[in-house]
Symmetry: C2
Subunit: 269 residues, 2 copies
Amino acid sequence: MQQAIAILDSGVGGLTVVKEVMRQLPREKIIYFGDTARAPYGPRPADEVLKFTGQIVDFLIQFDPKVIVIACNTATAAALDEISSRVSVPVIGVIHPGARAAISATNTGRVGVIGTVGTIRSGAYTTALKQLSPYIEIVSLACPSLVPIVERGEFRSENVSLIVQESLSPMKNYNIDCLILGCTHYPFLRETIQEVMGPHVKLISSADETARETSTILYNKGKLASGDTLPIHQFYCSGDPLLFRSIARQWLGEQIRNIPVLWQVTRLG
Amino acid sequence: MQQAIAILDSGVGGLTVVKEVMRQLPREKIIYFGDTARAPYGPRPADEVLKFTGQIVDFLIQFDPKVIVIACNTATAAALDEISSRVSVPVIGVIHPGARAAISATNTGRVGVIGTVGTIRSGAYTTALKQLSPYIEIVSLACPSLVPIVERGEFRSENVSLIVQESLSPMKNYNIDCLILGCTHYPFLRETIQEVMGPHVKLISSADETARETSTILYNKGKLASGDTLPIHQFYCSGDPLLFRSIARQWLGEQIRNIPVLWQVTRLG
């Protein structure tokens, strides 16, 4: 049987990684777990996020995936190192791909990062960026109001514009040329964020970049799927399946219209 | 002693990878070999390119590098698999990073590739793109006139515009939204290529993308350089050292103004 790419998130944010993996690697089978019953992870203490992430990994590892993608910045900051040392398959987080893409994209070296309270407090982007280049200047900002609007399925409205505007206003004083969307929920709000920041600021989606690096790593390990059979993806969530499925269908759109998908609800912990 | 990133090319084209590695990974030491005495590789038969690449790798491996980057599309197409199986350090070619970046960047799925006769004849980009996604449409075009103008240090002039225009004219009929610069010499001509193709076509530099993936692979192997000591880079070429040094200084510009560099001439074969 074809080994899958396992992707996990606190809720629906990781679907932004799913969408890009489906687009960039259409032959790959995906098994997704969204911990919607316990989302958001952003305000939770790091040890709780580590525990929850460990439970999801224990669930996903049963499917013998070829790679595990922690498609949540908060969980990556809290759990990537521990999970990597615990399982034998490669584990990919979303923070380093975003950091590498920002360093590749910036011209001025002034990079902004937005994320949850947990991600920003961890300093994980600053560490990752500084590890690559000591010359980068970083402006970090926690935007705790953004995940809840995405988790309830609100992507584009006057209310969204107001919340995004208010959340990002401190970032507008710093002359950055590149902004890392350091939370996989934020690409749902990409258009509004671009409008608020202006056209001269390049937006880096940690989700898109993680899909690309998953492709790099699978290629380098000789693990890319081949053949012409369409994969059957599997989606699991821990909370309300109707809301989850509706957001997934809306976001993934045409990419799941013609392919078989299995939907399941599973409680953890 | 700090292990270096070894980078090789048929001539000066690989300096486009060097420039990006210096920018994205300023702590990393680089050892470069440009086979300027035998450039261009593009029109040569594949077995000759394989032999020349093997000789350069034998030279570079003496320095105990942590990774070898074949910063030449022609040499990647002809020699990547064989070199990878022959040495124990990771070997990175320029074709797959460019292919992955194009799949990530395209919206319409219509991707153009320009390269040398050797690269285009090998079909290596088509194979790499189709391995990732069966839905990509690819238009390939050999542009044999472009490498010689770069190798003689001519980057921007009316003559360059005319040659680029003539070389790319067959590509303009195909409604692509993304063009892979499938030769590391072409970023020297980037501005002219962008003018000829128009602003709606995204240019993908296999050089930039390879630097980024070198970063990914070193990170995943725990091999990124740390510390605050500036590395001393080493540049070797097989032909005229004055022309090589002048092109390198012009292209790398401020990035080598304040750092120590060792220049050498070495004949191979």
